[in-house]
Amino acid sequence: MAYGGEFILRPRSWRRLGRFAGYAVAAALSPSTYTPAAREMAVRQIYFMAWKVLAGYLAFTAVLSLVLIEVVSSAAVTYGVSQYAIELVLRVLVLEVIPLMTALFVALRTGSEVGAEVALMRVNGEIEDSEQIGAMRLYNELVPRVAAAALSVFALNTLACALASALTYTVFFGFTDAGFEAFTRVVASVFDELVLVGFLLKSLVFGLAVALIPIATGLEAERGNPRSVPFAVLAGLVKLFFVVGAVAVLSLVVKYL
């Protein structure tokens, strides 16, 4: 049995993940995958992953955003650079913190659950050995979950970012449209083409990571060995956190270096 941390260092595990990702993305993009049963599965998954948690997640985002906005704006006023406060908030909150937080939230909320489910299926022999990934079973069971997880991350991330932007505007300008032009100008200077493309790309990669890694790692559970399930789930989460962190750092490196 391998400990969670060791999965990160196992090339075979990453190869399996890469192969699974390729199959799953290709399948998720092909319309023939979405049989009525698969579609229903996807809708159900989105309902549980995103809709059920939407209110709570947005409330949490609002509180965190207000705290961060307050910290940044008061610090900016203290240092006499209040004209950069909005830009700072947008860069820190909307571009970095909220996508990362959404990815981690969805990973914690559903990643372990889905990973455990897939691992149990593997233990029970409902899914064949990894060499036969791409069989009918994968389409029916796994691809809708992958698509649902990616869409959930996208939806939560988009709405949370919109809420954070609206809160930023409200905190700085109040309930008027007086500051709209100034705010638009800051948005224009923050979201240049590179940043916008990078932001969309990062959101996409976060969504795929959250959707793929727990499921792909759950497949590593050993058939007929229920003890391997917790390890596979833990390994999936560790790998997921590692990938999400690496993507966040990589995007920062590309953006600011």
């Binding site: 049963a37 599965m41 989105i46 939806a155 100008r185």
Partner: protein, 327 residues
Amino acid sequence: MAGEEDRQGSAGPGGFSLLPRSLGVKVGILIGLSVIVAAGFIVYVLIARGTFEQTQRLYLITDNAEGVRVGSDLSFAGFPIGIVRRIRLRDDGKVRISVRIPVEDAKWLRASSVFVLDVPIVGAAKLRAFTSNLQDAPLPDHAERPVLRGDTAQEIPKLVATARNILESMEELVQAGSSLQQSIANARTVSERMAGKQGLLGAALGSEENAKKVLAAIDNTNAVLARLDGVLAKADKRVLSEGGLVDETQKAVVQANAILGEVRASLKRVDGILADAQVVAGNAKAATADLGALRAEVEASLRKVSALIDEINRKWPFERDTKIKLP
């Protein structure tokens, strides 16, 4: 978990329950809303960045573009009207800052506009445009303009040196015994005197006694002037009134005229007398000339007599005295 039974249904192969209609609608709303928000945000950002706006270019040339970055604003009267799109070092070592200005904002820039790069101590550099006359010809597209650089940081050492000089001078001025202090003390003395009984006069003359003297002198002068007034009135009367000095003088002048006429007649007579006298004098002159000849004759006769006497004496033995007595 709220949807436990739903998940149970999905666990087994072919065990899908019929999807509740509301569930599909909710998920549809969620995904649709997210897509609309995301698309709306992208469109908003593109509009904010002026992707759909007609723009014109302005090239600003400077020696040093430090602090300027792509995305910096070009502001006019504190309002951002353009965005720096590109910064390039030219072959001649100068920096070309390419600024994109929406056509509707380009009206603030004229051919006579001046551009300044302001580098504050804290914060990013600011590009500013100044237009003194908004009636000038509009700035053409792709215009190239130099940038004046106002670097606060470079001015600071100079400023500190000047400020130190000023402060030292101030210290000298303010310290006890300085000329400023003395001046202030004197000013206070003067103002105290001015506030005193004799006022400004006392302040100007230094003491109250002097001021009193001046006042007394002024009083005396006034009295003298009053008397002088009387004297002048009397003099006026004497000189100009009937039988006054001027009147008498006129009479005297008439008399003097008569006298002068008499004098002139007398002078004419004197003239005649003088002419006679001249004639007399001419006669006397001629007589004088005759007298000369007469004398010469007398002298000659005397010499002859003398010679005769000498002869007689020589021939006359009674007298041996050879001494000759001249007349």
